[in-house]
């Protein structure tokens, strides 16, 4: 049984801080996804867990062991690299069995484990091939196979799907989810793709600039983002933002307006608010609908008709562009004026510091 506990982890390269104090606990069997923009330190954090990077300060606990100074092989982890890192001169069989060979595992035992892993990943027919004779998806399988034979407590994945084409990525994503169900091990998965994060994770850790922005279940992050960064990063297409000012406060409800939005009344944490405060309103593209009495008016600038839904780029009077996703098919013409209602129950307000003002649940 191995969960993980990260306590105030720091990493600096020379003078440059890259990981700036990460606290996180991962329970056994959880699928945790680190997500964030490129360069935010996801890989560095994962590699610190793997033991490939030294920990500058803080504590890393795997299971009930302090692992700061433990060799990678003794941490009970296995890692799948973005490049797969399959040895080109070895067959798939030897690649998968490499770690067992180094550990001097008995030959029959080794053979059994390699074939077990191959069976789980449905790649028995590939065992005699060299990596150069495999497709991208098959290489990916072999790389996962190499991790499985180690029977690790914790699997680490660094952007494992980013070298695959879109269709294959969806397939492999589902297989990974299934693998997690079957094996029941703890998995930590790094990606910059928030869709991967949303679909795979039990728990998402959003990182930016080496700092954890929010930790939570995918749907919580989507519905209740802690700050502007998470709100903008999670969800596709991206959330729309508008500068608004507070018109009136009534108990737990606040009414805001801007040049583009005549008025919208939102449930929020109003304790520190007063009339005239400048806030940011976040509205997801899916939470707008055509309504003749709506509070938002704009001109259509671009239409994408997908059949089941229609994506509209809307040019607002202030000059801002919002994205709207309308249910069903709408034959809209460019420059056409569109009046929309905002689903006030699903919008989020952010204060001047970018922290969300969600009402307590």
């Amino acid at each position: 049984m191995a969960g993980l506990e990260l306590k105030a982890l720091h990493k600096t390269y020379g003078q440059v801080p890259v990981i700036k104090g990460v606290d996180l606990s991962v329970s056994h069997g959880e699928f945790v996804v680190f997500v964030g923009p490129s360069g935010c330190g996801k890989s560095t954090l994962l590699r610190m867990i793997a033991g490939l990077e030294d920990i500058t300060s803080g504590e890393l606990w795997i299971g009930d062991r302090l692992c700061n100074a433990v060799e990678p092989r003794d941490r009970g982890i296995a890692m799948v690299f973005q490049s797969y890192a399959l040895y080109p001169h070895m067959t798939v069989y030897d690649n998968v069995g490499f770690g067992l060979k180094l550990a001097r595992t008995d030959k029959a035992e080794r053979d059994r484990k390699i074939r077990d892993a191959a069976r789980i990943l449905q790649m028995e027919h590939l065992l005699d091939r060299k990596p150069s004779q495999l497709s991208g998806g098959q290489r990916q399988r072999v790389a996962i196979g190499r991790a499985i034979v180690r029977q690790p407590e914790v699997f680490l994945f660094d952007e494992p799907l980013s070298n695959l084409d879109a269709a294959l990525r969806v397939d492999m994503r589902m297989e990974l989810a299934k693998l997690h169900q079957d094996l029941g091990s703890t998995m930590i998965y790094v990606t910059h793709d928030q869709v991967e994060a949303m679909t795979l994770a039990d728990k998402i850790v959003v990182l930016n600039g080496g700092v954890v922005q929010q930790v939570g279940a995918p749907i919580d992050l989507y519905q209740r983002p802690a700050n502007l960064f998470v709100a903008g990063f999670i969800g596709s297409p991206k959330m729309n933002f508008a500068e608004v000012s507070v018109q009136s406060i009534n108990g737990g409800m606040v009414t805001v307006a801007s040049k583009d939005i005549s008025a919208v009344t939102v449930a929020a944490d109003t304790k520190s608010l007063k009339v005239g405060d400048r806030l940011t309103l976040g509205v997801r593209p899916h939470h707008l609908s055509m309504d003749a009495s709506g509070t938002l008016v704009g001109g259509v600038s671009l239409v994408e008709r997908l059949g089941n839904e229609t994506n509209v780029s809307l040019r607002l009077p202030s000059g801002a562009t919002w994205l709207v996703v309308l249910d069903g098919d709408h034959n809209l013409r460019p420059a056409q004026a569109l009046q929309l209602a905002i689903d006030a129950e699903k919008v989020v307000l952010f204060d001047a510091a970018g922290q969300s003002l969600l009402a307590a649940m």
Binding site: A50, G51, L52, P72, R73, I77, A78, M79, F81, S83, A85, Y87, P88, H89, F98, G99, L102, A103, K130, S132, Q133, R146, R150
Partner: protein, 294 residues
């Protein structure tokens, strides 16, 4: 219009066929012409100004040379010893010089420096250093209480001594080739191996060694051919001596040339050319055999 590309690949060439003419002319005049001329002259009795055709007599005479067999064996010994040591030392130095050691850049230049020095200069210097009684090497050994051997005057040692100097001079090039090979190996392989529990020694055996195989092939081929053709260092250090103890084919050929037997020495060159081909072609085929799978 002339079609320069092979029929198997019918993709039209990017450049017109006549683009290769300048290179072809230079290659023809400076390489092909002398090669075929020497093939012809090897079949003549040749005294610079006139030549008479004598068929294979030169070859017959060349193989009757009393010390030719000795020269042939010496050549192969020299080539095997010098290229073998260059591979082993070059690889070790390259591993050392790609690791996190202090003054890495400086040490790389130090290792490469002998490659830049003139061979004859190196030969003369080492002849002095290897002097049996007054040379610095033996004086140094004497200080440690060891009686140094007669490096260049001992008939059993002279050839090996020259080969060692050849290694000293040439190992820098082997090292540079290996460094290029090693730094091209992605770091991921080492990290994956480390997570699998690989010790540094195991990583060297299972990752570095197989993945720098192309560098090994290059180093072996280059230094083996260089060893077979060796002449300047031998000539500068021993002139094939003592006696004929360190004669190689090239020095035998040179002695015949000095004696005015131009046709004969040209025949010797043809023999050397064939010898190199006979040894190196199968060697490279063997070395490259497994690489098709890459």
């Amino acid at each position: 219009m002339a079609r320069v590309q092979s029929p198997a690949r019918s993709r039209p060439s990017t450049y017109p066929g006549w683009f290769f003419l300048p290179a072809a002319i230079i290659y023809g005049v400076l390489f092909l012409l002398p090669t075929f001329a020497s093939l012809y002259f090897s079949l003549t009795r040749w005294t610079l100004f006139n030549s008479t055709f004598i068929g294979l007599d030169n070859f017959a005479q060349f193989f009757r040379e009393p010390f030719l067999i000795k020269g042939l064996i010496n050549t192969v010994i020299y080539a095997v010893v010098s290229s073998g040591l260059k591979v082993v030392l070059g690889l070790l130095l390259a591993v050392l010089l790609t690791s996190q050691i202090a003054a890495r850049g400086y040490l790389r230049s130090v290792v490469f420096f002998p490659v830049l020095v003139s061979t004859v200069g190196v030969g003369i210097t080492f002849t002095v250093l290897m002097h049996p009684t007054q040379g610095m090497i033996n004086e140094g050994l004497a200080m440690l209480g060891i009686k140094g051997p007669g490096w260049l005057v001992d008939p059993n040692l002279a050839l090996i001594s020259v080969a060692l100097v050849d290694v000293w001079k040439g190992v820098g090039l082997a090292t540079v080739i290996y460094i290029a090979g090693i730094v091209a190996i992605p770091q991921d392989y080492y990290e994956a191996a480390r997570i699998d529990g690989s010790t540094p020694w195991q990583s060297f055996i299972y990752v570095t060694l197989p993945l720098c195989r192309p560098a090994t092939v290059t180093v072996i081929t280059l230094s083996f051919i260089g060893g077979l053709r060796t002449f300047d260092l031998i000539w500068a250090m021993t002139r094939g001596g003592p006696g004929f103890a360190s004669d190689t084919i090239a020095s035998v050929i040179y002695k015949q040339y000095q004696a005015g037997f131009y046709g004969l020495s040209t025949a010797g060159n043809v023999v050397l050319f064939v010898l190199i081909g006979v040894l190196v072609v199968p060697l490279t085929m063997l070395l490259n055999r497994k690489e098709g799978h890459e």
